[in-house]
Symmetry: C2
Subunit: 315 residues, 2 copies
Amino acid sequence: MIVTVTLNAAVDVTYRLDRLDRHGSNRVREVAQRAGGKGVNVSRVLGALGHETVVTGLAGGAAGQALRADLAAAGLREELVPVAGETRRTVAVVEEADGDTTILLEPGPAVSPAEWSAFLTRYERLLAGAAAVVLSGSLPVGLPPDAYGVLVGLARAQRVPAVLDADGEALRGGLPAGPALVKPNAAELAAVTGAADPRAGAGWLRAAGAGSVVASLGPDGLLACTPQGSWRARPPERVAGNPTGAGDAAVAALTVGLVAGTPWPDRLADAVALSAATVLAPLAGSYDADAYRSMRQRVRVEPLGADGPCTAEQA
Amino acid sequence: MIVTVTLNAAVDVTYRLDRLDRHGSNRVREVAQRAGGKGVNVSRVLGALGHETVVTGLAGGAAGQALRADLAAAGLREELVPVAGETRRTVAVVEEADGDTTILLEPGPAVSPAEWSAFLTRYERLLAGAAAVVLSGSLPVGLPPDAYGVLVGLARAQRVPAVLDADGEALRGGLPAGPALVKPNAAELAAVTGAADPRAGAGWLRAAGAGSVVASLGPDGLLACTPQGSWRARPPERVAGNPTGAGDAAVAALTVGLVAGTPWPDRLADAVALSAATVLAPLAGSYDADAYRSMRQRVRVEPLGADGPCTAEQA
């Protein structure tokens, strides 16, 4: 079983209307809502791939109830720990005239020390049956900055490999505990390491404690820096669509590969193809199965030669 | 007891942020939410004035639960009838730099015939103990266009006077049943009657079935056309602030006056002062008590002479 942790889970709301009139009164034509947050998206993809998975994290208030109900409707097992605050909503206002989207992100609830402690108890219990744990997304207010370090450490103590997909302080706080894999995107990597070259940034993250680093480079695919070698994996063609959740699909594929011990080139090809197939599907956490199969055969994976090892010294 | 009916109740959400970046990603600094809808605001004001009141209408989903919880926290009795759909949210995005506000209005749930029938049963029970009933706001999808006519008729059958605050089709559908009072604003009045002069529009509404008509003219106060005569009531000064709920405060005062049989000039002075005091308070359904007392003494109420009777013929 793969456990995904979403400490700052969300209800993703989509409003569709003709055109957003800033400073005006806008009638929304259609409202859709769905459980969201990066770890939730990872579990959706894992479930669709046929893997056993459980969603944990924190949830509270009316939005927390809506989140639970949506996971139940999707057939995803959840072990969310209740908090007193209200789970955040993200609102995407989509203008149907041209598809332009305005995003509003609620800050999310503040978490008390007692709630964090209750989460840790649940997390340790879930680790007992876990093949891997995925730690995704931002930290809510009230958690210690090294919260991910604590979670990685507890996983390692039970010999469960941890995959960390976070940025900024939250990512930095998780590195010393030694996550098996971290998956920043290019912008997050540059912001955390100060390195313009993603190979140098990846080397920096490994020096800081990450076992392997896979950086997502948007439409250019993935860069992997691992103890077994370094690779670039590129999609066979550029795809247009909704990039939300593409990184989460890559995390799902990489975690499956980690658990199965798949050779790196195959893991990376899976991750690139699944990520591109997610861009082609309208909702985060869904993917186009035909596109996945077709692209899987055509992803180009190249080992990085002497000109491209991942070392911190390149920074 | 005064019963307020809000068939399309809402959870009013306020997002505060620096500046709304259209087509960008916006982090909301602060989220507030509160039970909303015009009838709910009327009950809030009635409660603050010390009158017994009960909120009824339709509520469903996570937003419906949040609405109920907020009414309970405010000490307002509610007899909302459950529906399967999700109660709508209204989102006000306030830019703190300059106070400019963008409003997003969800459409609200569709109501089934069985739900409407369950509401009518509850409504008839509540009418048994009611001194007046206030019918406020838009009709959700699924209700008959003469829904307000049905509710006015049921109230009259139990000798309970009905106050109707609606616009367009919903207002038109309520008139033939003979509401004791309707309270459009100037724009609603012009849209429904086609009359540019509010006196002519008010005359039209009376001819169509309304007992009395009080039109709210924004900062210019109120125009009343009644079987006892016609009046203009003007606030002593213009007030700046949040006009949301000002009309609902006027409805609350007018309904109290209706139940008590207060002479029209006093009712109108109460309504104008309470309405202006609501503009000075930050939230709909609240008012500035000192401003109310101060302005109450200074509202100017004038009978309309020979140049201004309210007749449909002026249209």
